[in-house]
Structure formats: C-alpha cells, structure tokens
Symmetry: C2
C-alpha cells in the first residue's frame, strides 16, 4: 500500500472523445453513448425463454427419450466432407431465426453419436444418468465458477462434502482434493504435487540446473503420463515404463529394478504412478506391493484410478484396489463408471497439510482478498491450476443423493456382472485375453476363414485387418459402437466395456451375434 | 506386432470363481452372474424422464425467468456454517425420493449466486445467453467427448469452423487452435508451445541441464502466468514482470531492457506474453511495439486476450488489439464478454505447421488408430493435454449462428458504451483511475468522512477498509455484486464490469446510488 497514486478528480468530460452533447434524451430513458442507445436491455427475455422451452422439448424427445430405445441407431454415420455439407456450419453476419436454429439443434442431435444408447460401448463412459443430468442443467443455467465462496457458496460446500466422502472410500483419515477437467489433468496435478513435495523450490526456481527427475509407471498406463511429463518439463524419456504381466499388471520386482537403475544413473526418482483399472485391459496394479517399494525408496505413490476408482463403491469389488489407502494421491473419475457426466474428475491427496494450496497458490488479489467478511478458508480456488472452474462435484453429488451408496454399488456390481456375462458367452471364433476383473473384456474375433490357419505372421497380419472392417460396418449400419486397437505388440482387437444400467444382458448377446454377422465373410 | 501371445481358447468356465450353476433361469430372461440378476435394465427410464421434466420446470422458473428481474436478490447470502445446516449435504447409504431431490434442486438454486442477474458485476462473466444455454443443454444430454471424429463428428466440425472464424478475426491467414478449460490453461498451452518451438527436445528430455528459460509479461498480467511457469517447471522467478504505465499497459522500453538483462544473465529468453484486456484495469498492452521487440530478439509473442479478445468482434473497438495479427499465439475466452457459458476458451496458434500436434501428441493407440475408414486428420484429440474434452466451441457457435457477427458486435459495443456511461456518471465521492478503454471501470468510493482528509497514510489506511464493508453490506442485502481488490500498491478499490445485454443504464445509476447508500456512514 505504499506510494498510492494521487487521487484524480471525477472525470472531466471535456477531456475525452465523447461529446457530452451526445448524451441526449432521444426517447424515454434513452441515452446515447459512443453511438449506442442505452435504452433498456437489448436481449428479448421472452423470446429467449420460448427458444429454450422449444429446444428442451427437442432434447427430451430426440436425446433423452430415445436413449433407452435399442431400435434407434447409435449414430447416423456420415463422412466428414459430406457431414459438412449436411450441416449449415457457417457463421454469418446476420443471425438466424429461431425456427432455423431449432432445425439446427435437431441436425446436431441427429448426426451426433448417442453415447447414451444402450449399445454404445466405445469409450469408458456411456449411458444416461437422469440425476447428474439435472445437476448439469442447473449448473449451465446458473453458470457459476468455483473459486470463492462469495460467488459459489453452494458448489464449494458440495465439493467439500463430496471430496470428504471420496477420501473416506479411499480409506484415508484425512485428505484434500480438487475437481478438475479430466483424468489426464488429475495426473498432472499429482505429478506436480509429488515434485513439489520432493523439492518445493522447483515452484520458484524451475527445473533448470536440477538433476534429472524420473518417474515410474507401467507400460499399460494411460497416455496422459507421457503428456504430463512433457508438459511439466520433466520429459517423456524420464518416464520409466515398468513391465506388466500377461493380465496387464505392473510387476513390482521390475519396478524395484528400475528404481535402482535410475539411482545408479544419478537421476532423481520421485514418483511411482500405479494404475487401478488400465484403459485397455482394465488391469489393477498390485498397490500394496508397490506401496512397499515406494516406502522403501521414499517415493510418492500416485494411483491413477480414473477408471477403476469406482470399484471402491462396491464391497464386493473394492478388493481390486487393495492398498490404495497407502497412496499419497489418487485420481478418480466418477464420470466414467458412475456416469456423472463428462467431466467429473477428482484429484485427491492424502493428509491435509495444505500441500495443494502451497503447491498451486498464486494469491491473486482480485479474487482472494484476505479482508473478506467470511472465513476465507472456503475460497479454495487457489488450489487450482485453473481460474474459472466448473462445479463438477455437484453432478456426482446429485446422483449420490438420488441413488445412495447402495445404488451406486449396485450399478458397479451390475456392470461388472454384465462384463462377466459377456466374457462367459464368448464362443467359437472369439478369443479372449488379458484380465477379466473389471468391465473391460478384450478379445479377437477370428472369422471362419482364419480359424484353421497357423498362428504365423500371415495369420496375425490378416487378423489385424479384421477389427477395422467390422468397425466400419457397424458404424455405417449404426447398430452399435465398440472400440478396437492394436496394443503393445498385439494386433487389432476389440475392447468391450459395460457401464450403463440401461444395458441388458440381451445387448451382450446381440453384440456377439452382430460381430459374427458383420465379420463372418472376412 | 511382434511376438503376440498364443491364442487362448474360449474361456474355460470351470477355471474361475463363478459357479456355472449360478447361471440359472430364475424368472423370464433373468440370469444370475456374480450374485447379480441380469434381467433387463435397472434404470427406470420413465421415472428418470419425469424427474428431468419436473426439474426443468424449476430451472426455467427459478433461474432462467428470474434472470431478468432486478427486484430479485442477486444472492440469498448465508455464511458457510449456516448454509451447511440449511442444505442437506450428506450422501447416505440409501437414495432419496424424487420430491425430496426436487426440493434440493430448489435449495441449491435459492442459495446460489444468480450470475445472470442484471446486477451481478462481480466477475468477467455475467448474464444469460439463451442460445449458448440451449447448446449446453444439448451437450449435457448427448454427453460427448471431443477427441475422435467417430465419437464426436458434429462437434469436431463445429470446433474447426469456429476456430477458423476466430483466426480470421485475429487477422491470420492460417492457424490452428484448440478449445480448452480456461484462459489459465490456454496460457499454459501457449507457454509450452513457445518452449517447444524454442527447443523441441524439451518434450522428451525435459528441462534438466538446460539453461534457465525466461519469459516476460507485464506486472498487470493475469496470475495464471505464474501458475503456468510453476506448473511447467520453468519457475515463477523466471517470469520477469515488466513495468506498466498508469493505465496498466506494458512499457515496451522496459520490456527491451529486461530482455537484455536476461541475456546478460546467461538465461534463455523465449516468450513474451502480452495482455489484451488486463483482469483488473482492463488495459491493452501495445501489441505492435511489443511485436517489434519480439521480432528483434526472436521471441515468441503470446497475447493473453482471454478478456479483451472479444473486442475483435467490434469494428469500433478492435483497434484496441492493433498488432494482434503479429502474435504467434492468442488466448481468447468467448465465455467472458460474449457470454458463451463457462468454460469456452480457445488457444489459437499462427500458421498451420502442425505445431500443436507435434508438441502435444502421445499417439494413444486405443483412440488414434491409423487404420480407420475415414480421414483421421479429423481426430484432433492428440493436440490436447486432456483426453476427454468438452465440445465448448459448440456453445459459442450456437450464439454466433443466432446473433450473427453484427449481433455479437452490438453486444460488445453496448457493453463498452454502458461502461463508458458508468464512468461518465461518476460523481462527487467516486474517484476513478486506470484506463477506460474497455469494460473495466476502477474507482474508489470516498465516504463523506474522508473527503476532506489529507491524502496521507491515515487516509489510505481508512480508505482501504471502506470497500470490504460496502461489499459485506451489499452481499447481505442481496442488491448487487461488485468486486473489490487491493492491487499493485493501491488500497482496496472497486472494479465495475459490464457484460450482459440484460443490463440497463438504470442499473449503472442504481449501482452508484447503492454504493453511496451503503457507504456514506463509513
């Protein structure tokens, strides 16, 4: 507060480029400033509300109600160049009338993938949750940003309550956390936290001149680990990938070898990122054994449970994450298995030593004034790398309120039972591999022409081309959506994932029949 | 594709912990797996749809329709501990019935700040845009993620179209870009891009062993520059803050001095981040002169136009950003002045040399298969630090379609005219300082008791306590919301910002009267 500027006088109108004469009363209440008439609001609220009402009807009919209908197409496929012509994408000088805009809404919906269709199995999210959807509609209408209590009182308290509950399910006595835009970003948060814990000075001084930081994760980890290492200035080469077993789980002995190697190299190991629920195989790393190694070598243990974290809701399946309470940080995305809507992702950190705040704070004076009239410890925005932040916890909270813990548990149990059912129904021509602990079931479809061929180079080459063709056919038909990929030396295979409670066992049967139907001539 | 595993046989049921006998037909179509009956979907679609319908009515009445009504409170203020008691925050084992959940929705709305109230001036966003709101409702119902064309055909094409148009308004011949969750993240993207351009090897090798990277930005810049430097491993000390003039604009001569200083220190200058529309004062750095210096010293020029970028839509005001076409990257948030809904933020990069892709790619095989049946150049997800990503461009597109460029221009012109009107109406007791080029008007309110006091330490100390008390009173009354802050040596002052087309000039008059009413006894 030193050397404040001298107080200026109230503005001298003659100094500026506005002609005071401009400010004339042209019509009632009208004032002209800078060539703009300031008479009342320019937005027509009645017309706007009518537009929202009409659009909501379309959304209810075309998206929400059709969601449960398996006879509808998952997607009305059009190739990019054709779709560009079908949609009127151009933004023009003049606006378009409501009727035309409503047609546009219908076209957007028509040509979009219905991720809430019971036969959408393409990603790690699917289905429709009516409760989180309502929370999201409320969010969009209120349009809040979550950084200070004064602007988002309800949403900050909700986030606090949800984080507390998630921390309880992880098994920590206390902790802290923050909702953020995605599992990838959560992993970045964790990597930076671990680095800060390792050497707090990096926040101010940066990495220049420091020894090479090294982190460890399995070769089945999510690709965001590489993105994070690159973004944070650590470098992708300093991610040491640890071998996995045939089910995709990190081999602890290999981890220890790599930690020792990094030490011998003179590098600075600081972090192990274990995965609970790998993206492709759905594998869970042995957290307890990995935690032992982290303890032994003084390494931060992060668990990327973006996908698998939701198993914590199930008394039956939470053993998959045995040892997670020993982690220093956890990433967990309720928008995946628990259907909270994209995005709903928490980064959680053990103990409440204000580490998040210390690591991330920048103390912006225009947001985080310390002389507010309420307890400013509720202004949690400075724990974030973002400034504006969406109230993502709220949608998860609404679903949790609606279903209760037992309802969420039932969903997890049912999804995993359906996946198990799918696995059990695999028949001649379908070859499974990997794990079968979670919702991912990976398999090859072997068309009849390949069934008697030897497993040589030619066989694998031919098999590699099967999945893409079946995928193309299912997309063009619109009957279902299922992902495929080559992965770690394996030729293209399918990955089936069950999430939504709208999915029936009949959809599993259909899926197998349909793949066979689409691929038997290959 | 080398050494694939031997193909396993279809699963041998006897091997696993599921008793095959479990799979009994208990009732029609019912199958028991792992203790879960798989008979049809467990989600009740009809009840869910009814819940959404009922909630939509509440949202329409309590949020959207009340938005235009100045007689409603901006916020029904409750302190944190009391609000916790008023809301039923706890998540229980069992779910709650729809009627109770609808009451909960009403409570959430009741105690939330109405950022669409015409007298909400607290942040750099405000108001309600019916078109972007409809787009957001569609987004939430469809629940897409934008990374591959197969999953988000429409939203990828819309993003491409919107980016192209924004690039046109910046004045580049060609460019690339990506929507991302916030201006802060956009600035991080730019910093990392500049670093990659400076030394592509950093992506793989990291910063260890490299010279100290230094970047330059004004002392009035957004606090995300510090957050970004810390997060990216550059270090906050390596952000060199450049002095500004009394209006808050970076002084180019000071910039050049600092670049020379960094060079002398043996550091590696790589980036200048200019600000177009500073957060507090609304100042625009002299981009053309800064671009000259960047050219001279071979530095990447980023323009943080998160707040001010929208002036590009106005033929009258775009001169504020004169020289922006010379930038290498631009951050621009249509969710601020153009009301696209939080968040809607683009990072744009000049020229289309695939720099974003090269800098950010990690080539995840499960998403970005190269043997798809369509042109995979439409799979833009690998340009992102995120994996799941929301279709934020869509909401801006819908508004642009509805209003046309001229409608957006009219909004900008009107907001700035209203701000100018407010400035012109400042009267005895209100002391303005800083700039008045954009929508920010910064001022002190001097209560009568201080008006004759000398401008000494006591005066400033007393003045410092005025704004917080007025803020407390307005919050408790619910009559309006306006931000205050201390800033760069200045004691607490108010910042008035006009955005929404729902705001009338009468609201400006009200604001001044209200401050006077709430503070004249201080």
């Amino acid at each position: 507060m030193n050397s404040p500027p001298p107080l200026k006088q109230a503005p001298d109108f003659t100094l500026f480029d506005i002609n005071k004469q401009e400010m004339l009363q042209r019509k009632k209440n009208a004032v002209l400033v800078d060539g703009v008439f300031l008479n009342g609001p320019i937005a027509d609220a009645r017309a706007g509300e009518k537009f929202v009402e009409d659009a909501c009807k379309i959304i209810m009919e075309e998206v929400i109600q059709k969601a449960a209908d398996v006879t509808e197409k998952v997607c009305e496929w059009q190739p990019p160049e054709k779709l560009k012509k079908l949609l009127d994408l151009e933004m023009r000088d003049t606006g378009e009338p409501h009727q035309q805009l409503l047609q546009l809404c219908q076209d957007v919906i028509r040509y979009s993938v219905k991720t809430n269709h019971p036969r959408f199995f393409n990603q790690l999210y699917a289905g429709i949750d009516y409760y989180s959807l309502v929370a999201r509609f409320i969010t969009e209408a209120l349009n809040p940003s979550v950084y200070t209590y004064e602007v988002s009182p309800v949403f900050l308290l909700v986030e606090e309550a949800v984080l507390k509950k998630m921390i309880e399910f992880i098994g920590w006595n206390e902790g802290d956390g923050i909702f953020n835009p995605g599992g990838s970003v959560s992993n970045m948060y964790a990597m930076n936290l671990a680095r800060y814990k390792y050497c707090p000075e990096i926040k101010e001084k940066g990495l220049s001149g420091l020894p090479r930081l090294v982190l460890f994760t399995s070769e089945e980890c999510h690709y965001s680990m590489k993105k994070a290492a690159s973004f944070l200035g650590i470098g992708t080469q300093n991610v040491y990938f640890i071998k996995t077993d045939e089910r995709g789980k990190m081999i602890p002995e290999e981890l220890e070898k790599q930690v020792q190697r990094a030490r011998k190299e003179g590098a600075a190991p600081f972090l192990v990122s274990a995965t609970a629920g790998t993206t492709v195989l759905g594998a869970f790393d042995p957290l307890d054994k990995i935690a032992d190694i982290c303890e032994k070598y003084g390494l931060w243990l992060h668990v990327d449970a973006s996908w698998g974290g939701s198993a914590l809701m199930s008394r039956k399946h939470r053993k998959l994450l045995h040892g997670i309470h020993r982690a220093d940080s956890v990433a967990w995305n309720p928008h995946k298995m628990l259907m909270a809507g994209i995005q709903c992702c928490a980064l959680l950190a053990k103990n409440n030593l204000d580490l998040l705040k210390k690591c991330y704070s920048a103390n912006a004076s225009y947001l985080f004034q310390q002389d507010k009239f309420y307890d400013v410890s509720y202004d949690t925005g400075d724990k974030s790398i973002q400034c504006s932040r969406r109230p993502d916890a709220f949608k998860f909270w609404m679903t949790w309120k609606a279903l209760g813990t037992t309802g969420l548990e039932e969903r997890v149990n049912r999804a995993l039972a359906l996946a198990r059912y799918f696995y059990l129904k695999l028949r001649l021509g379908f070859f499974w591999f990997g794990g079968r602990e979670y919702a991912n079931i990976c398999f090859w479809y072997i068309p009849p022409s390949l069934r008697d061929m030897e497993e040589g180079a030619e066989f694998w080459e031919k098999l590699h081309h099967v999945a893409p063709v079946i995928k193309e056919r299912m997309m063009k038909k619109g009957s279902m959506m299922l992902g495929y990929q080559p992965h770690l030396g394996k030729v293209n295979f399918f990955r089936q994932v069950v999430i939504s409670p709208q999915v029936r066992r009949e959809d599993m049967d259909f899926l197998l029949d349909e793949i066979d139907l689409l691929g038997r001539d290959l």
